[in-house]
């Protein structure tokens, strides 16, 4: 299944991109995506990462489905 992965702020700076489309095995979770990107960009491991799927906060072990939009970002700092 295909999902779109978004990065913002610090995570966008660390991975060097703002979004990417990727194909995952069915049953994959945000944790699988995180595993991939922390392997290719080890600097991500020193950050507290939050995950949103389709604009809602989710836990990293939630199940993804075709067409989901997965956002990976650090602790927010607006205000």
């Amino acid at each position: 299944m295909k999902v779109r992965v978004l990065f913002f702020g610090a995570t966008a700076a660390l991975v060097g991109m703002r979004d990417i489309e990727t194909t995952l095995d069915s049953g994959a979770s945000p944790a699988d995506i995180l595993k991939h990107f922390t392997a290719t960009h080890p600097d991500l491991q020193s950050h507290q990462l939050l995950i949103a799927v389709n604009e809602e906060y989710v836990s990293t072990d939630s199940e993804l489905k075709e067409g989901d939009e997965v956002a990976i970002f650090t602790a927010v700092s607006g205000g």
Binding site: L6, F8, G9, A10, A13, H47, Q48, A52, E55, E56, Y57, A71, F73, T74, A75, V76, S77, G78, G79
Partner: protein, 141 residues
């Protein structure tokens, strides 16, 4: 009427504060957050705010819904600025109108705390010798 907005234009505090006023209300409390010059002694030249825009708007709307359940308030307006901001410019305005001012103070203070904790907006501080994406609000810890 409640409203949430993200804007790259300067925020006018009055227009936010006055848009939440219904005729039967007595007080509006407004929080105006702005760019500090010094953080831990380091001089910030300017700031840059970025948002996951559709989610940020949804999260701000959720905060307003919850505030209206938990406090006796009438209307809430939240406007957050994005893009490059100079020192002293307003980054966020939260206005809460209520029949009695106590609820307006309590709700406004709760809203800014929760906004800093949950709304997907990030700020980058730019210094003479580099820049840093800020990842938490020390006041919330």
């Amino acid at each position: 009427m409640d409203f949430v907005e993200l804007t790259t234009e300067p925020i006018d505090i009055s227009s936010v504060a006055r848009r939440v006023v219904p005729p039967e209300c007595g007080a509006t409390v407004t929080l105006d957050g702005y760019v500090r010059k010094f953080t831990k002694g380091r001089e910030t030249l300017h700031l840059f705010y970025e948002a996951y825009e559709p989610m940020a708007l949804k999260e701000m709307e959720k905060l307003i819904e919850q505030a209206k359940r938990d406090f006796e308030i009438a209307n809430v307006g939240i406007v957050h600025r994005l893009g490059k901001l100079e020192i002293g410019e307003t980054s966020v305005v939260i206005s809460v109108a209520a029949p009695h001012r106590r609820a307006a103070f309590a709700a406004c203070e709760w809203l800014i705390r929760e906004l800093k904790r949950t709304v997907p907006i990030w700020k980058k501080e730019v210094y003479a010798d580099g820049e840093v994406w800020i990842e938490s609000d020390p006041e919330n810890k």
